[in-house]
Structure formats: C-alpha cells, structure tokens
C-alpha cells in the first residue's frame, strides 16, 4: 500500500491503482525470482481484476554505473515484459467470490493461464503465477505521518494505529526461473505498470520503489518552485526507465525539498546537498525501479541495501529488491531522517495483521470482511 491513492487518477480507478511492488529471490527456491504487484488497496470481498487493464511487469538487466556521491544505475535498453490480463468473471451459484480467469503473456510469447484465487496458481516450465485477493502486507500509521508533516515534528507513538490493519489487496505473483526466463542479470531493475488495454495501451500507473509518490513526492508545501502542482499523475505517466528531460527538474526539485524536510526532523543535517544543490538520495530515488540481485540468497531486510552500498563504495551483500515483510516505513523514515546516523525512527507499527509466508504464493490469505472495522 506504499503507493496506494498515488494521485487523482489512481483514486478514480482503484482497480488500476498499484499499491506495492516486491521483488525477491524465492525463499523456497534460490534459482527463482519472485515478482509481486499489489493493486486495489482496501479491496472489499467482491473485488476482481479489470478486463480492460493490462497488469505489466517490466524487467531490465541493470549495471551499477557509478558509486560514491554520484551513485547511479544504468538500466539496459533490452527489456522483457510479463503482461497479465483477465476475463469478465462468472458467478456460479453459491460461490463466495466470482470465478475469474486470467492469462500471462511471457517474453517468449507463451501464454500461461490461471484461475484467480487458486493458491497453486497456473504455470508451466519455469514459471508459476498466482492472482487473487490476499491480506495487505504493508503496514503504517498514515495519520501520524500526516501529523509529522503538518507539525514538522516526528509524531509517531510507541504504539501506533495501523491504517491498513485487516485490509486486503488484489495481488499478482510471478515466480520465475530467472536464468531461463530473463536475459542478462543477475542484477535486474523491476517496474510494474497498469495500462488501459487497447490497440495502443496507455499507461495509467507505474511503481518501482516504495513510498516515492506519496511520502516522498506528494507534499507540495516545501517545494518552492511548484507549490501548487499535484505532480503525481504526471510522474505516473512517465516511463520509469526514460524520464522526460522536460519534467525531470520538476521531480528533482520536489524530491529535494521533501527529502530536506525529512532530514531536518531530528534537528540535524545528515544529508547535506551536493554542489549542484541536490539531496544525495534524489537521483537514486528518481531511478524509480526496484533493483534486485537474483544471484544472492533471499534476505528479510534488503530494500535499498544495493543503493546504500553504492553510496558507500562497497559491494552489496544482499539481493536488494524488496521482501514482503520488511518494515518499509521504519526503514524509509530512518533513511530520510538520519541516514542511519541516529536511532531508528519507529512509526509504532511493527507488523501487519498477518505475515507473508516463505512459500508460494507468499502473501497471507485475505482477511475476513470485517477485520478492518473490528
């Protein structure tokens, strides 16, 4: 849910609203890479995928182009995609949920069929796919984040209130044998997109890293250049691997301003701007794709470890990417506020209602309808 409601268009079309993206080496099978796209945050029991949306996973081999203060990635121009599409569901008598079938077009041109909500998923040689309703894996206290921004003071309570407690999402999980299904590697950049289907599909949303559009870019008031600009729909419409130079400065200035705000929350500057006037994380975060090293063994807390190693000029030790159970809000807040030079920032929420498991399809089963309200 780190990207849920990430702009006015996403609000209008929740079925195309990507809430989170995950990429991790399979805990149960090291030769496999797992990619997860969550959509439709706070989905009620009747939620189903749209038949007019392409749910796309884009994967490119990526190189580390520079380390130190100018750390940067160089994604390859070659790319593979996995496009998932869905039929109009049928409602057999007595079924709790409508039965929906989907298919995934793989880079080789093969089509893998599956039935939504089937925990075994569909699959064939080298690939297994699940789609269906699952428990929301993300957890955070949105009200206290808003209060922090409004007051300029870290406002988290020792025991927070999980905004997403007991809620569900629709998830698509692809487990693939990466040496067989992907080209290059082992370092890959992953972006998920939703597109309006048709002869010329139009991008609706795209997500790579967690909490870029909401926590990092949504606040307008610190941005001295575009104080009134709702920037997220524009940002969503961009190709993550090829941001338009025309708008890049708008994103850069917004990101610089908001990251500087977070850095100041503990009363000291941990991220001094560089000579070009940029926050040291801005360029890396605007490379808005998850970077995962498929050759490294699974790790529980590995988000941004590759990037940190690049900034520090060392070799990364984990697969990077993002695992389902990592406490992303604590990580992001600590990164932004003190860069790891101070005590961890804890938002008071340390677990979702149910942890994801280490076996396919990984995400926990959906919560009962009234779990959130209770």
């Amino acid at each position: 849910m780190s990207d849920h409601f990430s702009g006015p268009r996403a609000l209008a079309d929740p079925i195309a609203d990507i809430s989170d993206v995950f990429a991790f080496p399979a805990p149960d099978s090291p030769e496999h890479l797992v990619l997860v796209m969550d959509v439709f945050g706070k989905a009620g029991p009747s939620a189903v995928f749209s038949d007019a949306v392409i749910y796309r996973f884009r994967i490119r081999p990526v190189e580390i182009a520079a380390t130190g203060s100018g750390a940067a990635f160089a994604p390859s121009k070659s790319e593979v995609t996995f496009d998932c599409t869905f039929d109009v569901p049928k409602s057999p008598a007595g079924a709790a949920r409508p039965v929906q079938h989907g298919r995934c077009l793989t880079p080789s041109g093969r089509t893998v069929s599956f039935r939504a909500d089937d925990e075994n998923g569909g699959g064939e040689d080298g690939i297994q796919i699940f789609a269906g309703q699952r428990s929301e894996p993300f957890y955070l206290d949105v009200r206290m984040i808003e209060k922090t921004v409004a007051t300029g003071k870290l406002s988290f309570k020792p025991k927070g209130s999980d905004t997403l407690y007991g809620t569900n999402i629709l998830a698509i999980v692809i487990k693939l044998e990466w040496r067989k299904m992907l080209k290059g590697g082992p370092l890959f950049a992953v972006v998920c997109e939703t597109l309006a289907a048709g002869q010329r599909p139009v991008r609706i949303e795209r997500v790579g890293r967690p909490e870029i559009k909401n926590v990092s870019m949504s606040w307008k008031m610190f941005d001295q250049v575009n104080k009134d600009l709702e920037i997220r729909d524009l940002y969503n419409s961009e190709d993550a691997f090829d941001l338009k130079p025309d708008y890049f400065d708008a994103y850069r200035v917004r990101m610089n301003a908001n990251l500087a705000f977070y850095d100041g929350l503990d009363g000291k500057i941990d991220w001094p701007f560089d000579q070009q006037g940029n926050h040291p994380l801005t360029k890396l975060l605007l490379a808005d794709f998850l970077v995962v090293d498929a050759s490294r063994p699974f790790a529980e807390t590995s988000y941004f470890e590759i990037e940190r190693s690049m900034l520090e000029g060392r070799t990364h030790a984990t697969p990077g990417g993002r695992w389902l159970n990592q406490d992303i809000m604590d990580f992001v807040l600590t990164l932004y506020v003190n860069g790891g030079n101070g005590p961890p920032v804890n938002d008071g929420i340390d677990a979702p209602i149910a942890w994801s498991s280490k076996t396919f399809p990984y995400l926990a089963p959906p919560n009962p309808a009234k779990a959130a309200a209770a």
């Binding site: 006015p8 268009r9 609000l11 209008a12 079309d13 929740p14 079925i15 195309a16 439709f40 945050g41 706070k42 989905a43 009620g44 029991p45 009747s46 939620a47 189903v48 995928f49 749209s50 038949d51 007019a52 949306v53 109009v88 569901p89 409508p98 949105v142 009200r143 905004t163 809620t167 569900n168 309006a196 289907a197 048709g198 599909p201 139009v202 609706i204 309808a369 009234k370 959130a372 309200a373 209770a374």
Partner: protein, 365 residues
Amino acid sequence: MIALSEISAAAVCSAPGPSPLTDGAIAVLNLQAQIDGLEGQGASAEAATLIDLLILRGLIHGRISDYERAAQLADRQIGAAIADAAAYVARARTRAVFHRFAEALDDLDYADRISPQESATRQDRAAILQAMGRYDEALVTYVAADHRGEFEQAAALAGLWAERGETDMAQRFYLESLRTYRGVSPFPLTLLDFQLGVMWMRHERLHQARTCFEAAIRRVPAYAAAQGHLAEVEGHLGNPEAALTRLYPLVASSDDPDYAAQLARILGEMGRNDEASGWCRLAANRYHELTGAHCEAFADHAAEFWLGPGNDPLEGLRLAMLNVRVRKTPRAHELLAQALDAIAPAAASARCSGAHLPNRAATQL
C-alpha cells in the same frame, strides 16, 4: 427523484473513450468492494470517499437507502470534524442529492471559509447552481473551476448544455468527453450517455434517446435509471412489453417508486387495471413516505406520479409548486403548468359546487 442531470458526471468520478472500459459487471462488483473496504474506516478523507461512493452506488442501482446512508455519514462527519472543509463538501454533496440546495451552498461557503486556498468546491457549486436552474452562473463557475483534466471540464459542460436543452453544444462536449477520457471505469461515460438520453427525451426525440440509454446500459447493465428511462422510451414507442420486461427487475432491486409508478402507468394504458392498481398503491405509499422524509428531493417525481397514475391532481399541484420554489428549471415550470392544467377541470368543477382550492395551493399560486 434525483435526476442524473443534477449531478455532473465529473463530480461523481473520473476515467477512457477509444480504449476499452472495464466491463460493467466488474465495475459494479468493484464499486461494492470499494465501499466494503472503506466501511468502518474513521479518517475524514476516507469518509468523504465513502460518501461519494455511496452516492454513486445509489445512482447506479436506484437505491435511495444509499443516499440516506451517505447523508447520515456526512452529518456524522461534521460532528466529528467540525473544522474539516472536506466534511462540509461531502455534506454539501448529500444535501444536493436531496435537493437541499440552499443548505448545500451554505456548506460550500463554510468549506471555503475554513480552507480558502482550496478550489475544489467550485465544481460542486457549479453542479448545484445547474440543478437550481441558475445556468449562467453554473457555466461561469464550471469554467472557473480548477478541473482535474480535460475530460472533467468537457463532461461537466456536456451535462450543463444537455440540461439546458442545447443539443448541439451538449453533443459537442459529449464527443469531447469521449475523446479525452483516459480512465477505464465505465461510470463517468455511462452517466454522460444517460444525460444525453434525458436531453433527447425532453426534446421528444425518442429514437436518439433510446440510442443513448442503450449505450449507457451496454457500459453498465445494472444502471437502473438508464433501464427505467429506456423502458419509458420503449413504452412511448409502442413496445410496452419490452418496457415491462425492463421494469419488473427494477421494482425488485430499487427502492425508488419511479419504477412502480411507470409499471402502473404502462399497465393501465394496456388495460391491465388490476395489476396497475397494485403497483399504483405501492408507488403511492412510497411517495408518501419519501415526500414526508425528503420533500424537496421527491417533489418533482411525486408530482408527476400524482398527476398521472396516482390521480390526485391537487397533491400533484402542491408538489409541483414546492418543486418550482426549490429549482427554477424549465422542467420545473413545465411540471407546474401541467399541474395547473390538470387542476383546471377540478377547480372549475369545485367552483360550480361552491368548494374552494385548498388554502395552501391557493396562496402559493
């Protein structure tokens, strides 16, 4: 009661034209899923979204109980967040649905005072002015509104010109809406199709109206008002059996008496008087309930009923007069004229017998 033309499509939601749209059955399932997912969430922004979604579901399924629930939720939100502009905007929307236009505008004024930098209220204000028949002010306000995109602007203006009966302008903006639509939800476009259909109906261009209502139903088959209006058009075009086939499911799924009233009228015209009187009683009871609870909202449709199958012209006149006080639209004036015509024989007869019009009616005339 709540004619769709009174709620601009853009105010309800937003989404593509040439691209495929989400199937209407999926959209309805997911609307339900959105509502279920937000029920019980306490935050003000979520409550405002839930209120909008309940209004949309009420609109699609013809469920007055959804509007009532939205209104209760909005009142509760004001109590919980007295200084929250979004709560007042949400309540303004529910008040507008129930034709409490002056109170709705008061809420928007208050929201503007609390949060003067926000321009979000303009769109709502314009929709209310439109519903009140203050078209020129509505147009100025729509143009000044900080629209979220080309589609929203075009859709709002299509609705306004349709309501004014300016068919060329309405069609121009309708096509512009289709061209600029970028979403996948079918709701904004089905609402527009419906608005155009109502416009053609008012011009007695029944074939064009049918085309529009059929388009609306292709996008969202469950859209009760489109089904109901298509039934009415089919009835007028001499196909009462087709009309009945559409209306029977609606009287089961909707708590709006319009469909029972239509059944009563069509069955009566077919000479099936026993069946007609049953539906007539049902509609009459429900209109009594609704005009008791939400008089402004149901005055127009109830007046039509009493002037038609309900056969109580005096009650029709009372409600038509009330309606014209709430909204000075051409349609409201037509309805009043119709009511006065209907009462004329009764009044003449009453004068002959030495009786008088009810005081209320007489003074308000």
